[in-house]
């Protein structure tokens, strides 16, 4: 399989992990780092947070695999494709609202990622 597709798959899976984590944090109703540290047990026994971590683990191994084939200065900026994935998932699953300015920013990010992918 083409290594570029594998990197993009890792980023897509990672974005799903983000959404699971965010959804889990909404469910725990815990706000702020201090509250998280106080409620570590509650945070790390939440189903969606555990699911998010499991998805992250899977995504990380695919990411590490890609590292054996590609430069990190090529791979890492491509994580920005995740902005698009996360925003789309946030709209669909979390009902977040996205302004026109954010869409403009996302467009620049997409152009940048494409330049990196095409430019070698």
């Amino acid at each position: 399989m083409d290594i570029l597709i594998i990197v993009l798959a890792s980023i897509l899976i990672g974005s799903l992990g983000q959404i699971a984590l965010k959804y889990g944090m909404i469910r725990t109703k815990i706000v702020g780092t201090r509250e998280i540290v106080k409620n570590l047990f509650k945070v790390f026994t939440n189903f969606y947070i555990l699911l998010g971590i499991a998805i992250f683990a899977a995504s990380s191994f695919v990411w590490l695999y890609s590292m054996t084939r590609l430069d990190i200065s090529f791979m890492y900026p491509l994580v920005s494709i995740g902005y698009l994935f996360v925003t789309l998932f946030a709209i669909i699953f979390l009902k977040e609202r996205v302004s026109l300015k954010r869409w403009a920013g996302l467009s620049l990010i997409i152009i940048g990622s494409l330049l990196i992918m095409v430019g070698v």
Binding site: I30, M67, S73, V98, L100
Partner: protein
């Protein structure tokens, strides 16, 4: 203090929280890449072999990177509980510049002008998002 001022203060704190985790993540990426440069894997299916997973995790650079990641994860959860993902996720892009500089300095990677321009676009994009 007005409600908007309280919100503004919270926003600054969220940004600082994310930037600290970005520094940790960039360092972790370079450490993991350095570790993976020492490992040979046949194909993607090699990840289904437990022996290979242990080989990856037991590399001290990869392990160190993963530990730093879990540290950053706690900071991320803190940031995520304060703001929308679609707001904080773009802040991650300051890490692209940092990771690229680290890759040049510590891993002697060659970065083309094209790649820098791409990173520039990404950074400009996040600026827009930060202002939205």
């Amino acid at each position: 203090m007005s409600i908007s001022k309280v919100k503004e203060k919270g926003k600054t704190k969220t940004i600082i929280l994310v930037l600290v985790s970005v520094l940790i993540i960039s360092t972790a990426q370079v450490l993991m890449k350095n570790g993976m440069n020492m490992i040979t894997l046949d194909g993607l299916s090699s990840l289904l072999n437990l022996y290979n997973l242990i080989k990856i995790i037991s590399n001290p650079y990869v392990l160190g990177g993963l530990i730093m990641y879990s540290l950053a994860l706690v900071l991320w959860l803190g940031a995520m509980s304060r703001a929308d993902v679609s707001f904080i996720y773009p802040l991650l892009s300051t890490g692209y510049i940092l990771t690229t500089i680290f890759a040049i300095v510590f891993l002697s990677e060659q970065v083309s002008l094209f790649r820098w321009i791409g990173i520039g676009f990404i950074f400009a994009g996040t600026f827009f998002i930060g202002k939205s």
